[in-house]
Symmetry: C2
Subunit: 271 residues, 2 copies
């Protein structure tokens, strides 16, 4: 069974897409074709979309699903009359919230992902720049300026997680790759030890690491299962001695790892 | 007026936070203190949270708001009885959707941001690696492998936007900084011209650029308003000659710019 799904919004569509994806993840057995429709902010665009809804219904033999976050009643009305199963994700919460707060909603669209708080936005952009210039242990002397320092072997997921932490949460995230230098010295660099309270270890199963490294350098000693096993074992020993939390990235997404890092920082009073 | 808001979830909390933020952005006049509570996945954790809700209510003199995405009825019930204004963002859409699809929901929590489709997840990680190694025009010969190439003067927002496009949409995003070399030659590099159909220009107002560059290199010629004005004028001329869409980053967030890039790619049939 195939169903076409449209994520529709007057602005970026990120909210519709996020909640829509979450809802669809509850129905694994259905094959969803997902279409992203941001900036449906005029009646003309809404009417053009209803034409596409009609075409999808004909093609699939079932009406498409529409997940929308609409603040403009006239545009929402055009969608609602379309040939679709329509879930408005936003509107029904606005009124109860307005009553609880005793304040009228602004009804301005595109506020969710706009720069409404310049200082917070600047913080995020600075965090991204920090993550970029402190990737891969480039400047260990900067670890003291970081909010979080991820430590793990090559290809354990440090870089994508640091970037996600910076972009999504505005955290200044740096990382240190555990290399043969560290293993030979049998010690982490002093710059890492000095900021222990904001260090998180990342680990990964050897077989998975082997596959990832093989993609990068096929047939190399670096990618061999034996080398992966050894790197991970040594990393575990060192992180264990340092006594920091260790998160397993084998089957967790960067979103999941990041949420756990944030939870860890909060529980230890660091953030 | 101050109100405390809790974003609560059995897993990452990203969905609750995204929709919650969107809803709060409609009520600008209220001062919200936002607390992020992922992994409330046991009854004990839920009960500990109700204690925090009670404390917030006492402190603020008004009950806290709770935005949750809960699939476990027993945990949700504990929250619902707490001293709070509770909006469950997920549950009420699951049943109508299940009826429309004729399929029961899995009721498994943590599906939204887990790796449910390994190939899609791998694509995102590869896109992040691509963005990292193709930042700042590092390898122009790679532009032909990119899904999108952003072109603009230094500090116009290329890097954060590329990273967002990669992390959020799995797009292989590269960028080329317009430098004095390009301006002197009065031409874009051939590698950029060759992939014109996936090029987007980024521009920014001179005063804003001046402020951003001043942060980076205070008092420098590079940061001067005259230089910023000149760089932007020359960039406009070159991008105009190439005939590519130009997006203004002065007051738009990376989310907004990215949504417009995606829309542009789709309209031109590139994605």
């Amino acid at each position: 069974m195939k169903r076409t799904v449209f994520f529709v919004s007057e602005s970026t569509g990120i909210t519709a897409e996020t909640l829509g994806h979450s809802l669809l993840s509850q129905f694994d057995s259905v094959d969803f074709e997902q279409v992203y429709m941001p900036y449906i902010n005029t009646e003309a665009r809404a009417r053009a979309l209803t034409q596409r809804l009609h075409e999808a219904a004909e093609r699939d033999g079932a009406r498409p699903l529409v997940f929308s976050t609409m603040l403009d009643a006239s545009i929402a009305a055009i969608l609602r009359e379309g040939d679709c199963f329509h879930l408005e994700l936003f509107e029904q919460f606005v009124e109860p919230l307005s009553q609880e707060l005793g304040v009228s909603p602004s009804r301005e669209s595109g506020r969710s992902h706009a720069i409404t708080k310049p200082s917070m936005y600047t913080k995020r952009i600075e965090a991204i720049n920090f993550a970029m210039s402190n990737d891969d242990g480039m400047r260990p002397d900067n670890f003291r300026h970081a909010d979080v320092v991820l430590v793990g072997v090559s290809r354990s997921g440090k870089t994508p997680t640091c970037l996600y932490l910076a972009i999504h949460y505005g955290l200044r995230a740096a990382n240190h790759p555990l290399t043969e230098d560290d293993f030979e010295r049998e010690a982490l660099p002093p710059e890492v030890c000095a900021v222990k309270e904001k260090v998180f270890g990342l680990t990964i199963e050897a077989r998975r690491l082997h596959l990832i490294r093989e993609e990068r350098r096929p047939g190399s000693e670096y990618a061999s299962l034996a080398r992966c096993r050894n790197d991970i074992r040594l990393a575990h020993e060192m992180l264990g001695r340092l006594g920091v939390p260790v998160l397993d990235t084998t089957s967790q997404s960067i979103e999941e790892i990041s949420a756990q890092v944030l939870r860890g920082l909060r529980n230890s009073g660091q953030h």
